[in-house]
Subunit: 334 residues, 2 copies
């Protein structure tokens, strides 16, 4: 996917000097102070344990804005519906979008709806875009970090990590992908594993209030392995994480073992990974754990020397390179 | 479509007091001074005389921002590609997007790409979203209008028309829909009729510099008939247009007669309809005609009493109600 975008898409689009441009491949762009993001959702099936395409779309866009250090302002939603789709299905999805819009206080302000003939899409595709503005607490957060070391970016971009930073994960990994895969294929784990779909904006704000974070990401497609590798390659650092500290639920661990999947490569939809100056890591960890969504947060590793390489210290004491997943280990989960 | 949105989508989304909300069903929303719009493009085939899905997507989003009286700032693009789509096809589409991005000086700053299995979509779906800021000339434009009559909205919204306003169309109607339909079905008109895909932002700016416009729309799906009916119902006015003044090319006229289609119901992708205080109509018309894109502009009618009704004075001297088209007279043209 990265190769597709880098070789066949990005080179043909003109470059412009905006605050955070396309070429940085970050979670959102920033233009003239406005944070801006878009995601196409092609999840299959439309409803699954713990969520549906509507909650996925709204939370996904909110999270991509929030992790830049921004407050989501509004969402735009473009629906492509297959002719013959039951009105009841549409209404359930839209109600779910409305529920998360209300919960997060982020309005869905504009949209588009296209109906295409049967067979042209499978059910429904939802593309959500979101805009946001700099969080009121982002300057404070960066000032706290700057007490300990220089911070070059004024947003929480992927190139902001430096040797010594701590890495925090907000909760258990792999739940979304395993819940979806299991439900779709009838593996039976879905009674114990639910999608973790959730908005992260409140958690992000809480972290910024404490201060010291230098970058944040939500580990969706490609999971934690992808997130850490993006950070390492864009910040030109190494990252070392300890397997035994990474929170993974028992059922997800079992499912991954049986299916031969790596939980660190599985997509999540309600988890946050934070890079932070080490002097503030414990304080931010405690603040995260006070919120229900962060109660299983852990410090899982640190930033090291070693340009672009992510190392996993395994539970049995070994060390292995944690590569970004090749292809999509579980397709159509978002 | 309108019924689908009003009955099965909008009621389930929470309402928020933003500058121009979802419930006004305008070309864009306005939130905290930011103009925001989204459109899913499902055009079939991907390439057609005068354009392709890429130029359609970029121009469509730019135009939806511009007609609010805003300057487009940036575009987000979400691609859903069918597995097996030729890389060459993707590159041609992206190059086309890049060409229009460069031409208009509106960067594509962020995006998403999903690949779905063969058969899940037909080729490619592109959803583009755009953001913009208030044009530097919008205040001047509205001040000019206010010399002649009160203007209630501070943007060029659909509810801004009053009895006496003039209606201007920027050029020939029906070209996009007829070119696409003819090419798709092999009717043979496509040698003479090309899509009119074009960015309207320069034309909009020129009009605002002169001043006096109270609303603008680009007559895409449902054509001029739909545009005028939206204005009439939202502004609670009547609109009367003269058939003989509406610019339609000979080949489009012939194609419509043969196919039994009404050119006023056919979608356009590079045309502007302007409602303006009558005292400035001639001056704005002259300014529009100075630009190539507006050289065939005409004053086609006026706003009258009569809540919600659009009347067409036919070439033979009769009068008939011009209803909004039922359904999509030509599906998948945008």
């Amino acid at each position: 996917m990265h190769e597709l975008i880098e070789s066949h898409i990005a080179p043909f689009l003109p470059k412009y000097p905006v605050d955070v441009p396309l070429s940085s491949f970050d979670d959102s762009a920033v233009v003239d102070g406005i944070v801006f993001t878009t995601d196409a959702h092609t999840v299959k099936p439309l409803f699954f344990p713990g969520g549906d395409i509507g909650s996925l779309a709204v939370c996904g866009s909110i999270n991509d804005v929030a992790v830049m250090g921004a407050k989501p302002l509004a969402i735009a939603s473009a629906l492509v519906l297959e002719e013959g789709l039951e009105i009841d299905v549409l209404e359930r999805v839209v109600k779910s979008m409305g529920k998360y819009s209300k919960m997060t206080n982020v309005p869905i302000v504009t949209g588009d709806t296209k109906v295409v003939e049967k067979g042209a899409v499978e059910g429904m595709i939802i593309t959500t875009s979101a805009i946001g503005r700099r969080s009121d607490h982002l300057d404070h957060n960066l000032e706290v970090a700057e007490k300990y070391r220089k911070v070059s970016s004024s947003w929480l971009t992927d190139d902001n990590l430096k040797e010594g930073d701590a890495i925090i994960v907000s909760g258990t990994l792999g739940d979304h992908g395993i819940a979806l895969l299991s439900f779709r294929e009838g593996y039976g784990f879905e009674s114990e594993v639910q999608s973790d779909i959730a908005p992260l904006n409140e958690l992000v704000e809480r972290i910024l209030e404490v201060g010291g974070a230098v970058s944040m990401k939500d580990p969706t497609r490609g999971g934690l392995a992808n997130t850490l590798n993006e950070w390492a390659s864009k910040s030109l650092v190494g990252i070392e994480v300890e397997e035994r500290k990474i929170p993974i639920s028992g059922p997800v661990r079992n499912a991954c073992e049986l299916l031969g999947l790596d939980p660190l490569s599985i997509g999540n939809e309600g988890k946050l990974v934070v890079a932070i100056v080490p002097q503030k890591a414990e304080e931010v960890l405690a603040a995260m754990r006070e919120l229900r969504i962060g109660e299983r947060a852990e410090i899982v590793g640190k930033v090291t020397k070693g340009a672009g390489r992510v190392v996993l210290r395994t539970e049995v004491g070994g060390r292995r390179i944690l590569d970004p997943p090749v292809g999509d280990p579980v397709p159509r989960i978002c």
